[in-house]
């Protein structure tokens, strides 16, 4: 039922699709390991994510034992999986991958 903003563009790619988190997602493409060796880009819109903003954002996250990056435009891994990015002095963003498999493909895309 969810649709990625780049869904239309991804239709041009010959790959396998799978529904993840209620979103039809491009799951894999041929030779993706070879591509990732150089430079790859993957659509991760299916990830669940939310934003936290406000003067008390940092302290609230700390009460949930989340280690937050100390400077804007930096990020940390979360304990289980996923990561947390600091977008500003009082604005944080968390990306929580729903399954391990996907977080692996994320790491491939990042390599």
């Amino acid at each position: 039922m969810r649709t990625s903003p780049v869904y239309d563009r991804l239709q041009l790619i010959d790959g396998t699709w799978r529904e993840i988190n209620g979103m039809r997602s491009l799951y894999s493409i041929p030779d993706e390991d070879a591509i990732a060796q150089r430079l790859g880009i993957a659509d991760l819109s299916f990830l669940n994510r939310f934003g936290v903003k406000g003067a008390a954002a940092a302290s609230w996250l700390e009460t949930h034992r989340i280690s937050i990056p100390d400077r804007p435009n930096t990020w940390n891994y979360l304990p289980e999986s996923g990561l947390i990015a600091r977008l500003g002095s009082i604005h944080l963003h968390e990306y929580i991958p729903s399954c391990v498999k996907i977080s692996r493909s994320l790491s491939v895309a990042k390599r």
């Binding site: 039922m1 969810r2 649709t3 990625s4 903003p5 869904y7 239309d8 979103m23 819109s45 934003g51 903003k53 406000g54």
Partner: protein, 977 residues
């Protein structure tokens, strides 16, 4: 006749490579490494350009970037500086600003009439009689100007580059290279910039810590040591932690009659011709000097086969050193205490035939009774220098005039900016090297002390010991030795009753122009500059400002330091426009429903940065028919429009309501949860800038919309205000994260009922209410709004759910023959309802009082932006008022258009802002601004000059009682078509 010398040691030319090119229709050639000017001069071509105003013949003057005597055009490349541009095979060059050719420029007759074109001519002529302006403007524009723009030239992309360094050294002379090496030895990342093509210093060129930009100009100084470095192909934006300005000095001309004739040149130009390009500047020279550099140049000329006829020294005495003795040994006469009174032209008036030499009296005036003519074909000038201090001025350096060297030198430099060499008043080679080392050490010491987060400078232990003895006070290290002479003469200017003694070669300004300007009261350097335009040509005063300043100082009886200088703004050196132009990155946004619109046949238009469906095309139907069908669908059945482009902002916090009270003109503190309210935003002047709808979702929670084009600016402004006011609330811009569709029409509720559990009855979900629920399982915010004048719901969902929502609504609406409608239909529907569009029915001056939106302004609030201005405006008589109008029912001519004027008694009485044919009312309706006193029937003047009569009528045109929002409509099922 070739002027090319036998090989000169260190010459920059490659004699094995011959480059052919065209100049003014004739074939020429030069060697690889030649500039255009050196190649032409070597072939004996003396007239290389024509002056800007009088079209006088001009040749090599500085052989550098400091003058524009030789500006040329190579097809679509404009204003090429022949002095410094290397020749390339196939160049097809011509001098700019000539009529006929550079050698026979018909416009040089102006030279004879120059007495009738005094400085200030334009001001005087046009101030009194503006009618003459058109005549003269045409004449002057034809006769002056630079290259001709070829508008069909292909577009050239000049991408910018970015660079960073610890120490930026500007100028690769002796002091600059010394500074660069000193800093590099300490491990700093050093960049050297120089305008010349070569450095010829192995140590610098091979140093691992030094990068070199050649043929490049540090063309300006911006805050925080941000320097645009301009080369032929691009601009490099350099951010330096420290800057060492070693930009040297520009040699200055002597001012005497006909000092602009081809063949009269600066000593440094003659030396460059010889040593770089192996070109003999002339055969017989008279050398005018006022410093030891001039004697050195005279000896260089002699060495390379030029007959020096005489040396004329402006000073009464000169120092008898080895160079002078060498010249005396060759029996070259030296006339000290003399000047060149004028250069006598050859019969063609395009070169020098003789120098007229006169002794000077004690007031610096030529004693013409003792004049003598010395035959020559060239005159060399070596009378002084002006520091290339533009970057220092732009960086905010305080300069002082040092009398002993007749030059401005830095007095107080900004913290991270250093200066050395000639620009710092140091002229002797050994001292320049020491001065460079001093500047390099100071830069390192500054870097070592300014270690801070993000600016860590790694200093080796070795460096720390090196940096320690660095002095903190500029000016006392190295010790400035007593100057035996001043490199610059205080008054290298000779008056002449017949004039043509040029101070500014760019603008053909003579001594008398300055005298006249000062006598007319322009006796301040800033006024003088603007009135005479001195220094405003492409050379930016590099060869003229100092002499202009001297003339002003002499006439007003002030010192040069008291007169001061003007500051050339960056860029102080002309830069091709293409270097400055950026690529256009106009963002084009598409809503998350874009592909759905495409598959429905949408024709798109640009709305702000968005692409929105204008209408949906249908086979065999015209645009107008399609739009009409869409409006009919909304009025009689149900339509759906993508309104995801609206700005969408969420506001939370204890002070959220207070925040809205301040930024919008209405009242929001008393809104009940689950309601919406129209919101109007004003600026400080009380002018309407945006509107939207505010929904209260909780006591401390609001969600509101802005106009499509206003979204970015409104969010930015609200963020600014939130920081300024420090209220307890936070705003989040959800414009991209959320989508919205408007489902509108008599059967909107029937369609929605199928998809939601929400109670859609009038009692449970009345007009202007807001509800949160699900639509086909999608979490949504629904607002009952009536922009198009029908029962309708604006449904806001997360953007990723928009395609699913759209599909569900279209499917659920099939029974009711639902139709998507575009922006055009929406504009018509809202016009029928009398709703205005910000930016179309308002402009940059419209207040709520004029637009008929008084009802949305609660003036009794304690504060809102624009309140005070509105209170003042309210006391005045309204100048115009937005009204509705109709054309006659049977009107069948050409209808007026938006922006057509309303004419009453021969005067403009208003203008049309919206007009359209209403299918519902079967006639043209519109909105217009009108003077309040305009009578009910008025005339609109249309494009062909004829008039159309219209009648004022109240709005809304459609459903004035708002019956459409009340429950009186039969359900969809009962209407079977």
């Amino acid at each position: 006749l070739s002027y090319r010398l036998p090989p000169v040691s260190g010459e920059w030319i490659d004699r094995t490579q011959i480059i052919p090119f065209m100049f003014e229709g004739s074939r020429y050639w030069g060697y690889r490494g030649d500039t255009i000017a050196s190649a032409l001069w070597a072939r004996g071509q003396r007239v290389l350009g024509r002056s800007f105003k009088y079209h006088r013949p001009r040749g090599i003057f500085s052989l550098s970037d400091r003058d524009v005597n030789c500006l040329m055009q190579d097809e679509d490349k404009l204003n090429i500086r022949a002095d410094v541009t290397p020749i390339e095979a196939g160049m097809n060059l011509s001098a700019i600003n000539t009529f006929g050719s550079v050698t026979r420029d018909r416009a040089n007759v102006i030279d004879l009439f120059s007495a009738f074109l005094p400085v200030g001519f334009y001001y005087k002529t046009f101030h009194e009689n503006k009618r003459l302006f058109l005549f003269w403007e045409r004449k002057i524009r034809n006769l002056t100007g630079l290259g001709k723009v070829d508008t069909s030239a292909p577009r050239v992309y000049t991408s910018k580059r970015y660079d960073f360094c610890d120490v930026l050294v500007i100028g690769a002379g002796a002091s600059g290279l010394s500074a660069a090496l000193t800093a590099a030895e300490a491990g700093a990342d050093v960049v050297v910039v120089d305008e010349n093509a070569r450095i010829d210093n192995n140590e610098v060129e091979n140093h691992p810590c030094i990068r070199i930009y050649l043929n490049a100009q540090a063309a300006g100084y911006y805050a925080d040591n941000w320097i645009p470095i301009v080369d032929r192909d691009r601009m490099i934006k350099m951010r330096a932690k420290t800057i060492i300005v070693a930009s040297g000095a520009s040699e200055q001309p002597a001012v005497f009659r006909n000092n602009d004739l081809p063949g009269v040149m600066l000593a440094s130009a003659a030396q460059r011709l010889i040593y770089r390009y192996a070109v003999k500047p002339m055969h017989r020279a008279v050398v005018l000097v006022a410093n030891s550099d001039g004697y050195r140049a005279a000896l260089d000329l002699v060495t390379y086969g030029v007959t020096v006829m005489a040396i004329v020294d402006l000073r009464p005495q000169y120092r008898n050193d080895e160079t002078v003795q060498a010249l005396k040994d060759r029996n070259i006469p030296i006339y000290n205490g003399c000047c060149i009174y004028e250069a006598r032209p050859n019969p063609n008036r395009d070169g020098v035939a003789a120098a007229i030499v006169c002794p000077l009296d004690e007031n610096g005036k030529a004693r013409t009774e003792y004049s003598r003519a010395i035959a020559c074909d060239g005159i060399i000038m070596s009378v002084g220098w002006a520091p290339a201090a533009n970057l220092l001025y732009q960086a905010g350096t305080k300069m002082r005039f040092e009398d002993s060297i007749q030059q401005f030198v830095p007095e107080i430099l900004p913290k991270s900016v250093f200066a050395c060499g000639r620009v710092n008043g140091i002229y002797q080679r050994e001292q320049k090297i020491l001065d460079g080392r001093r500047a390099g050490l100071e830069a390192i010491a500054y870097l070592a002390t300014s270690v801070r987060a993000g600016f860590v400078f790694k200093l080796s232990v070795e460096l720390k010991t090196l940096a320690k003895p660095a002095p903190t006070v500029t000016g006392d290290w190295p010790p400035v030795t007593v100057k035996s002479e001043s490199p610059s003469h205080p008054w290298p200017i000779v008056e002449h009753p017949k004039g043509k003694n040029f101070v500014d070669f760019d603008e053909d300004l003579q001594v008398k122009d300055f005298v006249n300007a000062i006598q007319e009261g322009f006796d301040n350097i800033e006024l003088l500059k603007r009135y005479t335009t001195v220094g405003m040509g492409p050379s930016q005063g590099k060869h003229s400002n100092m002499n202009a300043l001297r003339i002003l100082a002499k006439i007003t009886g002030k010192s040069a330091g008291e007169v001061g200088t003007t500051t050339a703004r960056p860029f102080f050196h002309p830069v091709p426009m293409s270097h400055l132009a950026g690529r256009s990155f106009t963002s084009q946004r598409q809503t998350s429903l874009h592909s759905h619109h495409v598959s429905l046949g949408a024709k798109f238009l640009s709305a702000g940065m968005w692409q929105r469906p204008e209408y949906y095309s249908r086979p065999g139907k015209s645009r107008e028919e399609c739009i009409r069908l869409e409006t009919e669908a909304v009025r009689s059945r149900v339509g759906i429009i993508d309104v995801g482009t609206l700005g969408k902002i969420e506001l939370r916090g204890a002070d959220a309501a207070e925040f809205l009270e301040r930024v919008y003109s209405g009242r929001y503190a008393n809104m009940k949860v689950g309601t919406t309210r129209y919101a109007l935003m004003l600026d400080e002047a009380g002018v309407i800038i945006d509107d939207g709808v505010i929904a209260r979702l909780g006591a401390e929670h609001f969600y509101f919309t802005t106009t499509t084009s206003g979204a970015t600016n409104v969010y930015r402004e609200l963020s600014r205000l939130n920081i300024m006011w420090q209220l307890d609330c936070g705003i989040v811009n959800l414009t991209g994260a959320r989508s919205a569709v408007n489902l509108a029409g008599p059967y909107a509720r029937d369609v929605l009922t199928k998809l939601t559990d929400l109670d859609l009855s009038q009692e449970a979900f009345p007009y202007l209410a807001a509800r949160e629920g699900t639509v086909k399982g999608i979490p949504a915010l629904l607002m009952r709004v009536g922009f198009v004048g029908e029962w309708g719901y604006e449904i806001h969902v997360a953007a990723e759910f928009a395609p699913a929502l759209w599909d569900a609504l279209l499917k659920a609406g099939t029974d009711c023959d639902i139709r998507p409608f575009g922006v055009e239909a929406q504009r018509l529907l809202r016009l029928e309802k009398g709703h205005l569009i910000i930016g179309q029915d308002t402009d940059g001056l419209t207040t709520p009082l004029e637009a008929g939106l008084e009802w949305a302004v609660k003036t009794n609030k304690s504060f809102f932006i624009g309140q005070r201005s509105l209170q003042i405006i309210a006391k005045r008589k309204l100048k115009q008022k937005l009204v509705g109008f109709m054309l006659d029912e049977n009107f069948s001519g050409i209808p007026p258009q938006e922006c057509h004027l309303i004419i009453a008694d021969g005067e403009i009485a208003g203008r049309v802002t919206s007009i359209a044919f209403s299918p519902t009312l079967k006639r043209y309706i519109g909105l217009a601004y009108l003077k309040p006193e305009t009578i009910d029937r008025f005339s609109i003047r249309i494009s062909n000059g004829s008039f159309v009569t219209a009648t004022i009528c109240p709005t809304p045109f459609y459903d004035p009682e708002n019956q459409r929002q009340k429950e009186a409509i039969a359900p969809c099922k009962e209407v079977v078509v």
